[in-house]
């Protein structure tokens, strides 16, 4: 089975801190994604990557950056965390020709 692992299930950070959310997949997938999930809003795409050192903005990239130095790892960075970034963050990976995207278990981030 494909495994997408996020480094933390729960995180509490202070406003202004730099926050790293890590995601690792074990199936040699080319594509990796970061979404945030908020009640009543569904999931929204923050950033994605189709290859090492490649990144593209999704629908809501403001306040975030990403890093993909290795194929299996995709990091989401909050340069200066703010309370409106309190959310559930989900990482996903996929690879053609498979039609499925596989999601990690999520990281619930609280910024205080």
């Amino acid at each position: 089975d494909v495994k997408v692992t996020q480094s933390s299930r729960y995180l509490v950070k202070r406003t202004g801190e730099k926050v790293f959310l890590e995601c690792v997949q074990d199936m040699d997938h080319e594509n990796m994604f970061w979404y945030r999930q908020d009640p009543g809003l569904g999931l929204r795409l923050i950033y994605f990557s189709y290859d090492v050192k490649m990144k593209e903005k999704g629908d809501i990239p403001e306040g975030y950056s990403v890093s993909r130095e290795k194929k299996e790892r995709f990091s989401l960075i909050l340069e200066s965390a703010s309370t409106n970034q309190t959310s559930m963050y989900l990482c996903a990976s996929s690879s053609p020709p498979s039609v499925k995207a596989f999601f990690g278990q999520g990281t619930r981030l609280t910024v205080v």
Binding site: N31, F33, Y35, G40, L41, G42, L43, R44, L45, F48, G58, D59, L90, A92, S94, P96, P97, V99, K100, A101, F102, F103, G104, Q105, G106
Partner: protein, 113 residues
């Protein structure tokens, strides 16, 4: 801007009953996804619909796609408590398996004994 609208957003139904969740989307998409999410858990892939008229079934769930109407349905037959979860549809607007998914807001289903 692509919009993906699900309705209803909340659904409470009795065990044994049938119901349909609707997913409308506002632009052309060559694939439509359905996911299930249990409370506190991640998303589980249910169905991927790849063409107009596609129908897929697993257990008590059946999904269909009408690309001309830009509509997908998730039909629940003889609901059981284990189906209680939030169901999301998602479309792939960039096409060709880009996986840049745009999600609906989700339908929270509660099946009552």
């Amino acid at each position: 801007e692509l919009k993906v609208e699900q309705n209803p957003l909340f659904l409470s139904m009795q065990e044994g009953k049938n119901y349909t969740i609707y997913c409308n989307y506002s632009t052309t998409s060559d694939r439509l996804y359905w996911y299930r999410q249990d409370p506190g858990k991640s998303l589980e892939s249910l169905f991927v619909l790849l063409s107009n008229g596609a129908v897929k079934q697993e257990g008590r769930l059946m999904a269909s796609l009408d690309t001309k109407a830009r509509l997908s349905t998730l039909h629940i037959t003889a609901a059981v408590h284990d189906l209680s979860a939030t169901y999301f549809c998602a479309v792939d607007p960039a096409g060709a398996g880009s996986y840049q998914l745009t999600f609906g807001k989700g339908t929270k289903l509660s099946v009552i004994p």
